[in-house]
Subunit: 323 residues, 2 copies
């Protein structure tokens, strides 16, 4: 690394500015089209409150006109009504956020902050969508929210294009948090470090959202925290699309800040997540390793894992690496 | 880090001096007292040859007088006769090694090199056993072998004691390879980096043997390789005691040296290791995470995983953290 933090991890683990964002319902919901059993959302919420987690992501703010029918559960849309049914006025220290996908969001679905229990809007975008993403960013900031920009699939973006995009973001004062997102789980620490240095030039507070295709989600999140990233995305037992994410319990066990409390998180993992993991396939497996190594979207691995040849590693490898 | 390699990983992944040591039979054998089915050893061996692996560890050279009876399989003892039955004269590019535990080895069981197909003797020792370990080291070197010293459980050794021990090793010319061993899977990259810098002062070629309690075995092994460590221990599908080790397939997929070949390794993982993993419990799980975070020997977690309350994470956490 060209530039290392002069803070040791011993210091970083106590850093009061480190925030954990639990994305279990939002990213985990990609495993079951957000069709969780009754009580699951409240379980995550209560666990986040008891565990001292800083933010909980309740789901997406997707446009219902684009996703008609009953295929998707309520956290694909995260209506104010549904959120309040679970959390009331959210009279806790836990902040709530929702993700707005660029191109899939109707700005009318995002209420003014003073009418919502949401605190933070996270705008997800590919590099070529940045102008459209900034419309959501500015709208959310005007309405009174904290705003994050999550730049997806950066591992496939050429350096010059990324630097141009980041230069654009530098001047957007409405962005509070800018996220390094390893969508394909293809990055290791040197690459994460390189992105952090580039993203720091925007002057924004940084976040990281990692995927576990190479068993590196926790390692990369820890590395990011030690090197100045403040917003750390996790999910309970790592539940998330494909290989999943940095497990909340692993990161909380590492951080020493007494605001965090591992025991209620372990309780939820034991009694809710572990049983759920017997029914839904998420987390590291060899097909996800292969797409991670190849820097490819995990969709082919997800299809394999959902088929009757889920452990045909060699056949999958041959397909993915065929010319 | 006080001192970083000026080589990027892009360079390191091609480094011809990086060697992979597959420990599946030796460390994986700790999961089943080395009672593998017929054909397993040969399967690992053939896979290592086809995969371009540099060394295969065949097992321990334990003293049969200390382990009487039939509880342990043949790779607890790794007699020359048993090895040759599997590999003949080992007329391949794959080197073979065996582990000699300090205090559990009869020097008479280690033949002169010119009578053995073994190439490397790895001497495992705790810090307080170093004088006894050096007797094995010198005997093995006198007999003509390459020799490694694996210093176990270093995460519990005070710095001044470690530095004294390393100073002793500096002058032992019979040691070819000195191993950083994360016995409890409790270390993360900054700590690995600190140990590497201390160990480098001995002037030895370094190795790393990692455990996966915190999903960091691969991350730490990769970090070590990028920071100058040359001997990288792995096991097929990460099979090893407790949380297991750095998976061979993950590391081979990362390294770009064309001598390595992922496909035969995936074939063995698919057809042998994956079915075996349905019968034997190894690899990351929450109880191993807990002992890793606590820097404790995994034996309590192993006992839990072998009991009828294997997923009682909260009960186990309460036991481990009780005062």
């Amino acid at each position: 690394m060209s530039e290392q933090s002069d803070k040791s991890a011993g210091w970083v683990t106590f850093d009061p500015d480190l925030k954990i964002v639990d994305c279990t319902v939002r990213d985990g919901g990609l495993c079951n089209a957000h069709n969780f059993e009754d009580g699951f959302f409240k379980g995550v919420y209560d666990t986040c409150v008891a565990g001292g987690i800083d933010y909980m992501e309740v789901g997406y703010k997707a446009d219902k006109k684009l996703f008609p029918g009953n295929e998707n559960g309520p956290w694909k849309f995260s209506s104010e009504e549904d959120i309040r049914r679970e959390v009331g006025e959210n009279d806790t220290g836990l902040k709530l956020c929702a993700m707005a996908d660029t191109g899939r969001t109707d700005l009318n679905d995002i209420l003014p902050k003073n009418e919502s229990v949401l605190d933070l809007i996270r705008v997800a975008t590919y590099i070529h969508q940045i102008p459209a993403a900034l419309e959501i960013v500015k709208d959310a900031k005007d309405k009174g929210y904290e705003v994050a920009l999550n730049l997806m699939a950066v591992s496939t973006v050429p350096d010059y294009e990324l630097d141009n995009g980041l230069e654009t973001l530098h001047d957007v004062k409405e962005i509070d948090f800018l996220y390094v997102v390893d969508s394909f789980g293809s990055l290791y620490y040197e690459q994460i470090g390189d992105l952090i240095e580039r993203y720091k030039k925007t002057g924004k507070t940084l976040g990281i959202h990692a995927h576990n295709n190479q068993q590196l989600a926790y390692a990369n999140t820890m590395y990011a925290a030690i090197n100045g990233v403040k917003m750390l995305d996790t999910t309970m037992m790592g539940m998330g699309r494909g290989a999943g994410n940095c497990p909340t319990e692993l990161l909380v066990g590492f951080l020493k800040n007494p605001k965090f409390n591992l025991r209620p998180i372990l309780d939820f993992v034991q009694n809710t997540m572990h049983p759920l993991s017997q029914d839904i396939d998420w987390g590291y497996s060899i097909p996800y390793m292969i797409t991670g190594h190849q820097n490819e979207h995990p969709r082919a691995a997800m299809a394999l894992r959902d088929s009757d040849r889920k452990d045909d590693y060699v056949g999958f490898y041959d397909e993915i690496t065929s010319i």
